[in-house]
Every structure is written in structure tokens, then in C-alpha cells.
């Protein structure tokens, strides 16, 4: 049988673990797919490449999804494949021990990403507003340098940047307890037109992802090795944080609530295309495909 060709725009990072494994352990191949992986350094670029027709499927976080949905782009959200909590590191010299100490401090985060929504949530939890702190936008990879140079007092971002920063700064930083405040999701997204004319192919794709996910659960050590090698990390750097990545191909209420929270932040903060309104995510999420493969993985109760 002829293999079906498909182009996947993938953000090359451990968060794309499921697709990395599916490709490397030949789950795509076994499903009859010839997947050409195109790597990007951000999910935003991966989604843009897909919208522009350069690739067929993208791995991307919620931020580009809400931006595209608000810009009325005909995207089809197929499944979430990973989430991980955003985290906070504070420099010891800043004197921050808990959330209640952050008033007046300088906070590093990346504008427009889930990191900003997370920061707002943290502030809310501490009973503060944006005006009570000063916010500095930095790329995740620049934040450790920012703390080291005493340009910021704390950094809000995702893995692996938290662990690399810890490694670089050692006892100069401490991590705050912020579990469950906000999780960054990583998802599989395509365009509605592509989905319509390639339902069978997409079904195979999702199936292969589920197979990969199961294999990862059963062979964590080998999975770590493969992912570390693919993204160019040291295995020793990835292993300790591996458990922070929650790989599961699902569509659940958390998926919807993260999208909504992010969209709400967009509207509130004005980081939205002109004239945008809260998108109807039931028109963005296409659960039938996943339902057809594994009905138990679709548990959305409401949009």
C-alpha cells in the first residue's frame, strides 16, 4: 500500500514529545503515513507555516491558537498532547520567599504567551495588579541571564528553561510554590480544509500519536533518550524534569478552560486583533476525530 505523505510543523522541544516518539519509533510509518517533520523554534511559527499552506499539521501552544481563532482563521484543533505547569524562580537576593513578597518586584515573562496569562494569575492570587510590579518581557532563554545580571527579581516561564536556569544559577534562586496556577498546553492543530479532505489520514495520525503516548509510558527511559537526542539536550538535563511533562492525547475540560483563560486575557489586555470577540471554541475544536479513535479520551462537558 502506498504511504500517505503529510508535513508536520513541529516545535522542536520536549513538549512535542509525543510526535517526536511517533516519528522516531515509526508509529507514523506503521499507520501508513510518511510524515515529513519540519522543525521550528516556536509553536507560533509552526502554526503560521500551517496556515500559510507550507505544512499540513502543527504542534503549538494555546497562545497561537487563540490568536488565530480571534483572527477568524479556519483552524481545526484536534487534540491536546501535553501540558505542563508554568513555574516561577525568584532570586534569593530579592528576598522573595512566597507570592506575598512580590509587590514592587521586577518580573520577567514573555509577552503574548501563556507566560503572561500565568503572571496575571499569579498577581491575582497575590491580591495585586499589574501596577504593583514591573513587568519585563524576555525570551525564556534570556531569563536566567536577566536574573544573573540583577535585571529582574523573578522569572515566570516553562520547562526546560526553569531547570536550566536552576542549573546555571544554583543557590542564587529558589522556586516558588505555584502548582496548578496555570498550565501551558501543547496541541495538534490543522486547518479545517485540510481536515475535511484528509479525515482518514488524520485518523491514522491521531492513532499513531496514541500509540506513541502509550509506548512512552511503558518505556520512559528510552523515551527520554530519544527526545533528548532529538531536541539536542543533555539526557541528564532532561531526565529530572521528565515527570513535569504530562503527555496525554486528550480533549478535556482543562483544554477548553486554558484556551478560554488565554482568550479572555487577550481581550482584557488588548492583545487581540482589532474587533475580536471571545471565540466560540466549539467551532475551533473538532472532537469527532479523536472520539472515533478512542472515545474515552474526549471528556469535554461544556465549551
Amino acid at each position: 500500500e502506498e504511504m500517505q505523505k503529510v508535513k508536520l510543523a513541529q516545535n522542536l522541544s520536549p513538549i512535542s514529545g509525543v510526535t517526536i516518539i511517533a516519528k522516531n519509533k515509526n508509529f507514523f510509518e506503521k499507520a501508513g503515513l510518511d510524515v515529513q517533520v519540519v522543525n521550528f523554534t516556536s509553536g507560533k511559527q509552526a502554526l503560521e507555516a500551517t496556515l500559510g499552506g507550507g505544512t499540513d499539521i502543527a504542534t503549538t501552544a494555546e497562545a497561537p491558537v487563540t490568536a488565530a481563532a480571534m483572527a477568524k482563521q479556519p483552524i481545526a484543533f484536534i487534540a491536546r498532547m501535553e501540558y505542563s505547569d508554568l513555574k516561577t524562580l525568584a532570586s534569593v537576593s530579592s528576598g522573595i520567599r512566597t507570592l506575598s513578597d512580590i509587590k514592587g518586584k521586577r518580573i520577567g515573562m514573555t509577552v503574548g504567551t501563556g507566560g503572561e496569562v500565568y503572571t496575571m494569575a499569579l498577581l491575582e492570587r497575590a491580591g495585586l495588579t499589574k501596577k504593583d510590579v514591573s513587568i519585563v518581557s524576555l525570551r525564556p532563554q534570556d531569563m536566567a541571564a536577566g536574573i544573573s545580571a540583577n535585571g529582574i527579581d523573578m522569572m515566570n516561564t516553562w520547562e526546560p528553561y526553569i531547570s536550566t536556569a536552576k542549573k546555571a544559577l544554583g543557590t542564587q534562586v529558589r522556586q516558588l510554590e505555584t502548582k496548578g496556577v496555570y498550565a501551558e498546553t501543547f496541541n495538534i492543530v490543522t486547518t479545517q480544509t485540510y481536515l475535511k479532505s484528509n479525515r482518514e489520514l488524520m485518523t491514522k495520525f491521531v492513532k499513531a500519536m496514541i500509540d506513541a503516548e502509550k509506548w512512552m509510558k511503558d518505556n520512559p527511559e528510552e523515551a527520554i533518550t530519544i527526545v533528548a537526542k532529538t531536541v539536542g539536550m543533555n539526557r541528564d538535563d532532561l531526565a529530572p524534569i521528565w515527570s513535569e511533562y504530562n503527555f496525554k492525547v486528550v480533549l478535556d475540560d482543562m483544554t477548553v478552560s486554558v484556551l478560554k483563560a488565554h482568550a479572555a486575557w487577550r481581550l482584557e489586555s488588548g492583545n487581540a486583533p482589532t474587533g475580536a470577540v471571545m471565540p466560540d471554541f466549539s467551532k475551533v475544536i473538532f472532537p469527532d476525530l479523536l472520539k472515533g479513535v478512542a472515545a474515552d479520551r474526549v471528556t469535554i462537558k461544556s465549551y
Partner: protein, 253 residues
């Protein structure tokens, strides 16, 4: 005869940009590209108005222009001084050139983290990144320009007993001016290239910062509006340089 030629020149001058805009509008309207990723001029114009009327444009401009101007001036002045030195003295050239040639191609965006480590998140770091691109561009032009100063003039100056200082500032510098001005004009665009890196390093306003943010938000109209502002600033700067250089370099080689 002459006034007719001048009329045609005027027409040529004022027709190319509108023509570009027209083609752009037609291409997008005909559905040849996704209008969200590459919106038509009308959408960009609306975004531009929005950008300008919200006051953000002025803020962004203020920050970016100050960063570019400070980094540019520092880079250009130091580059001229060191370029005169390396262009005119072969020991200085032998000493500095290898280092400069190694550092010259390093894209500022690649060492944003290192700049943060060194300079923190202050404006200083941002100036430094602009400085970086401008310095090497202008240095090369001064260095090469000095080496192409007319031999007879250098000989004349030596016979007239010119000191090192007079040689550098009254012979080499003016002699290399045509090249230096070319370097300065090229450095205008380089300074905008480096602004992108500079405003990644902990900025909260600025044209390149806004580019990044609006790109994240898929407000491509706003993004293009920002690019147009860059284009306008650079056009004006280049025009000024052109006028100034025509005035200063009144001779023909």
C-alpha cells in the same frame, strides 16, 4: 526640454510607492495569499491609524529612535576613530583586524543572553546591541576608505610635514569621506536590524518590540504598520545623510 525631464522624474519618484501598494492590494484581494497573514493595504492603513491614535506609536517611536540614535552615534564615532587608526597604521590594522573580522559577522540576536549578563536589562545593553552592528559596518568603510585615499595627496601631505594628527584628520578623514558616508548610510539599515535584537532584551516599548508582540497576537496589520514606520524613519535619515554628504563632499575625484 529640461523641465520636461524634470516632470518625468517627478512622476517616476511619486509613482513607484503607490504602484507597489496597488499591486499588493490586487494580489491580496484576488485571494492569492491568506489576507490574515498578509493583509491588504487598506487593513494596514486602518491598523496604522489605530496604532497612531492609541498613542502607542509615539511611545514606541520615542524609545526606538532614542536607542537607534544613541547606539548609532556611539558606534559611528568610535568606528571612525578606530577606522582612521587601522586604515592609516599597519600595526594597528594587524592588531585589530583579526578580532574585528571574527566579531563582525556575529548576529546581535545570537548574543542577547551574553549582553544581558554583561549589561543587565538596562538601556545600556540595548544601545550596545545597536552599537555592535553600526560599529563594524562603519569601521570597515573607514578602514577601506582610508586605504584608498589618493597617494599623491598623502605624499603631498607628508612633504608638507603633516603630523600624525593632521594626516589622520585633515587628509585621511576627508579623503575617505565618500566611503565613510557610504558606510554610515548602510549602517542605517543595519541599526534597524540590530534593533530587533535590542528590543528582545527586556524592552517594554519600541517599534521592534511591538513587531514581536503584534506578531504573537497575529495582528499582522499592526506589524506591517510598524514596518512602514521603520521604512519612513530610515528614508528620512538617508535623505538627510544624502543631502549632508552632497554638501560636504563637494569635490569629484
Amino acid at each position: 526640454m529640461k523641465s520636461r525631464a524634470r516632470m518625468w522624474e517627478m512622476i517616476a519618484r511619486w509613482s513607484s510607492l503607490p504602484l507597489l501598494v496597488l499591486i499588493w492590494e490586487i494580489v491580496v484581494r484576488n485571494g492569492m495569499v491568506n489576507p490574515i497573514l498578509f493583509p491588504p493595504p487598506t487593513v494596514v492603513a486602518a491598523a496604522f491609524l489605530d496604532y497612531a491614535s492609541s498613542g502607542m506609536l509615539m511611545t514606541d517611536l520615542g524609545w526606538s529612535v532614542s536607542r537607534v540614535v544613541i547606539g548609532y552615534l556611539a558606534g559611528a564615532i568610535l568606528a571612525i576613530l578606530i577606522g582612521l587608526l587601522t586604515g592609516g597604521n599597519r600595526f594597528a590594522a594587524a592588531f585589530f583586524s583579526p578580532v574585528f573580522q571574527m566579531l563582525r559577522p556575529i548576529p546581535p540576536i545570537a548574543f542577547v543572553p551574553i549582553v544581558i549578563v554583561w549589561f543587565g536589562l538596562s538601556e545600556l545593553g540595548k544601545w550596545f546591541l545597536v552599537f555592535w552592528g553600526v560599529f563594524f559596518t562603519v569601521w570597515l568603510s573607514v578602514h577601506l576608505g582610508v586605504q584608498r585615499v589618493n597617494d599623491t595627496l598623502i605624499r603631498a601631505a607628508r612633504c608638507l610635514g603633516a603630523s600624525k594628527r593632521m594626516m589622520l584628520f585633515e587628509v585621511m578623514l576627508p579623503g575617505a569621506l565618500p566611503y565613510i558616508f557610504m558606510g554610515l548610510r548602510t549602517a542605517i539599515s543595519v541599526s534597524f536590524y540590530t534593533l530587533v535584537a535590542a528590543e528582545l532584551a527586556g524592552a517594554f516599548a519600541g517599534i521592534a518590540y511591538r513587531l514581536e508582540v503584534t506578531q504573537q497576537n497575529m495582528q499582522i496589520g499592526h506589524m506591517i504598520a510598524g514596518l512602514i514606520v521603520l521604512g519612513l524613519i530610515s528614508t528620512v535619515a538617508d535623505k538627510l545623510f544624502g543631502m549632508f554628504s552632497n554638501k560636504v563632499i563637494h569635490w569629484n575625484t
